[in-house]
Structure formats: structure tokens, C-alpha cells
Amino acid sequence: MGNRTIVPFGPQHPVLPEPIHLDLVLEDEKVIEAIPKIGYIHRGLESLAKKRDFNDYVYVVERTCGICSFMHGMGYVESVERIFDVEIPDRAKYLRTIWAEMSRIHSHLLWLGLLADAFGFEALFYQCWRMREQILDMFEESTGGRVIFSVNKIGGVLKDMPHEMLLKFVNNLNGMEKELRALTDVFLNDYTVQSRLRGVGILTKEQAVTLGAVGPMMRASGIELDTRKLGYAAYGDLSFDIITSKDCDSYARCEVRIGEIFQAFDIIRQAVSKIPEGELITPVKGNPPVGEAFMRVEQPRGEAIYYSRSDGSKFLERMRIRTPTFANLSPLLETLKNAELADVPLLILTIDPCISCTER
């Protein structure tokens, strides 16, 4: 047995813009154990439900995380709509789906860039982020915001996308798709990239089930589950397959996310061809009735759960979010065991961590 040392990692570190702290117990270069410490960005967002009424609270929930802000807003709004038992207009459902899939593309491109940065391929990082800006431009044109959109409201959406704009977006996406194929080819086929990703950070199917992995992390271990198949928003009307991989390593996670980007392109095209005309919002009156509701949303990072409970007043009694990164933390600790110290930043990245969501 070699000498054991503990190397503190974070909270301020160059891998992610967000703070996370890990105590890495090392034996020479091998990680024996990783002990996480979180709470650096805890704000106490859930308790704010008692101070902001249920309509204003949409804007707070959106700021759980700036990357999947749209889906946070959507998850909360749909949970309150379930308490109200209100059916939202079909057009609003489709618009939510389109924005949600655009968020997925931007989030996955962001992740691909950070991954490239983690294995030291800086040119690839910049290319991914350059492509991502095109999606942000589309967001800005349709909602007015680049990362925080504030278009969800209980009962529907606040902004419409005219038909010409939708066609233009599809056109943009078609253009992007070609360029993106060339870019993702590097991730999937380049020899140096493969040498960093293949066989690194194995999470077997059994481990993924036992530890409760979610999202691409779980699907890369060969489990075919996707919350979108529950058919919230307009997903019930659209056809798509669940993308999985059997390799269980970092390469598989990269492959699944790349697959999901192209799938999102396809879902947006389908949604644009099927979107009906009509109202944007079903007005809801008064306070939410006494009741509680769960809502499950497939975020880019995996399944997020929103729970709202109302006591009939304008303030929700309880609002709770279970975020995907929290579920993926224990699988991360498992993959860190027996890894080499130099692979630690890469492994932390492969779960696509969002610490802001996790700590709220």
C-alpha cells in the first residue's frame, strides 16, 4: 500500500465555472475515494415560495439555473397547472416543446465545449461555443433573452413565434446540422479524443440502477428511459426514439448527448410542421385550489421533479425540486473510484454537473 494523501479539489477550480468541493483520497496517482462537500451556492430558493406569490414565483424558479432556465420554468408551471386542472392551448404546448428542445441543443453544445476544454482541445471548445451562439441568437429573437427567457406563465406562454420565424429557425437549424456533423465527427472518430474517453469512468448498468443515475448518464449505461415519453407538453404527438449506448464509459456519454442534439433538431422540425394556430394562454383566475401535484421533466441533464403543494392561498405552501445533478452525484463518486488523478476533471464533467440546480 502506497502513501495516502488527501488532495482538496475546489471550490475555486478551473474545470467548471461553478464551485464544488471534493476531498480526493489518493494513493500515489490513484483516487481511492472522493468525498464531496456542497453548499457553496445554496440560496434557499424553495423557501422563497412563501414570500412570492405563485405567479411571480415562475421567475424565481427559472433562476434555479441559467442553463436549463426554460425547463425549470416549464416544470414548475405545469405542476401548478395540474393543481388548477387547466388544459393549456395546443399552440402553447408546441411552443414550449420547441423552446425546450432548443435549450437541449444549447446545453449539450455547451457541455461538448467544456468537455473538449477538459481534455485540452481548445479549438474544439471554441467551435462548439461558436455554434451555440446561433441557438442563443434564435432565443433572443423569439423571447428577448439569451439565457433567462421568462416566457412561461401559468396557463400557457407569453410570447408567440410567427410562422415565418419558425420557418427561418428550421432553415437555420438545417444549416447548423451540416456544420455540426463535421464537428461531432471529431468527438466520435478522432484518435486522440477517443484515447481520453474510451474506457474511462465506467458505470455499469447495475450500478446505474442501484445508484439512481438519470439522463444521458443513465442512457449511456444502456437503460432505455426518457421522461419525455410520458408525453408532457407536445411530446405525446411527436415521434422519437430513446438514444442509448451500451459502452457505459465517457465516450458513450458523449455519443448519447451528440445523438440527442440531432434528435432535438428532428423534434423541432416535426413540431414546426404540426404546430396548430390558436390561443397562447388559458387564463386562470384566483388562487390555486388546495392540492398538490408532481411534474417530471426531462432536462438536458436528466429527469427533474417538481412538487408543488397549495393551501388555497396565493403563496404555495411547499415547492420542491429534485434536480438531475443531485441524482448523478453518487454515480459520479462511483466512477471516481480507482480513476487517475489527471482524469478527475474529465469525469466530473461527464455527468454534466449543474451545481446551481443542485444547491438552489
Binding site: P11, Q12, H13, P14, P17, E18, P19, G39, Y40, I41, H42, R43, G44, L45, S47, L48, K51, Y59, V60, R63, T64, C65, G66, I67, S69, L110, G113, F125, Y126, W129, R130, E133, L136, G145, R146, V147, I148, C354, S356, C357
Partner: protein
């Protein structure tokens, strides 16, 4: 113009932000906005940094971290609070775990408003910070 003002290095720390401002800070460094054309380089090492960019408000957990990063930076140094949360707590002002804006613990030189702060605004803030850095250097009278 001194060397320092031609190529200020910055360190970014996420206080308790929602990630929105953080990814905008990163977007500043990548092709479309590209602050590197002003000589700005993002570093992870406080001892190399001249400008401290903080996003998000201060809470009891990260207070010590922020102070520690600031104390490690060499003089002259400039603190730039990015986003409304870093300015005064923003939407999370009333949360039980938020002490307030960055100015509760550090002397802030530049406030960049916005939720999330736009890359254009962040770049403007950094350029203003460079001006303040230059003034501080002159006051200090050292060679850089």
C-alpha cells in the same frame, strides 16, 4: 499605457449565482464576443489575476472563499460585480441564506447590472475595470 492595462488577467468566481451570468462570462471569452482581443485572459490562479469577476450574491458558506481569493490577488486589483445578484442580491435578496451583494464583504469597483448580465455589458464592465486598475497603479506609483 502600462503593460498591466494592455493585458489584464481576470479570475472568475461563482458566488451563488444561477449559472446564467457565469455562462455569459464564459461566452465573453469565446469566439463571438472574444475579450482576448483586448488582451484579457481568464486565469484560475488568484496570484496571476488583476481583475476579480464575481457573479452571484454572498452567502455564509462562500464568504470565506471570496475573501481568501481577494487576499491572494496582488495589488493593484479591481473587483467587478457581475449581474444584479452580485450587485445587491437581486431576485434572491430575501432568501434566508443570502447575506447580500458582494460589497458586503469586498470593496467593489465596478457594478455590472442585468439578469443575466449580457456579454456586451460584461465586456463594458471589464474595460471600465481596466481604467480603474490603471488609476490604482498610478496612485501606488510602482512599476508594472
Amino acid at each position: 499605457m502600462a503593460k498591466l492595462a494592455k493585458s489584464p488577467w481576470l479570475i472568475h468566481y461563482d458566488g451563488s449565482s444561477c449559472n446564467g451570468c457565469d455562462i455569459e462570462v464564459l461566452a465573453c471569452l469565446t469566439p463571438v464576443y472574444d475579450v482576448e482581443r483586448f488582451g484579457v485572459i481568464n486565469t484560475g490562479d488568484p496570484k496571476h489575476a488583476d481583475i476579480f469577476l464575481i457573479t452571484g450574491g454572498i452567502n455564509s458558506q462562500n464568504k470565506a472563499v471570496v475573501e481568501q481569493i481577494y487576499s491572494q490577488m496582488p495589488d493593484p486589483k479591481v473587483v467587478c460585480a457581475v449581474g444584479i445578484c452580485a450587485c445587491n442580491g437581486g431576485v434572491f435578496k430575501d432568501c434566508y441564506n443570502i447575506i447580500g451583494g458582494v460589497d458586503k464583504v469586498l470593496p467593489v469597483d465596478v457594478y455590472v447590472p442585468g439578469c443575466a448580465a449580457r456579454p456586451d455589458a460584461i465586456i463594458d464592465g471589464v474595460i471600465k475595470a481596466v481604467g480603474i486598475l490603471e488609476e490604482k497603479r498610478k496612485k501606488k506609483g510602482g512599476k508594472h
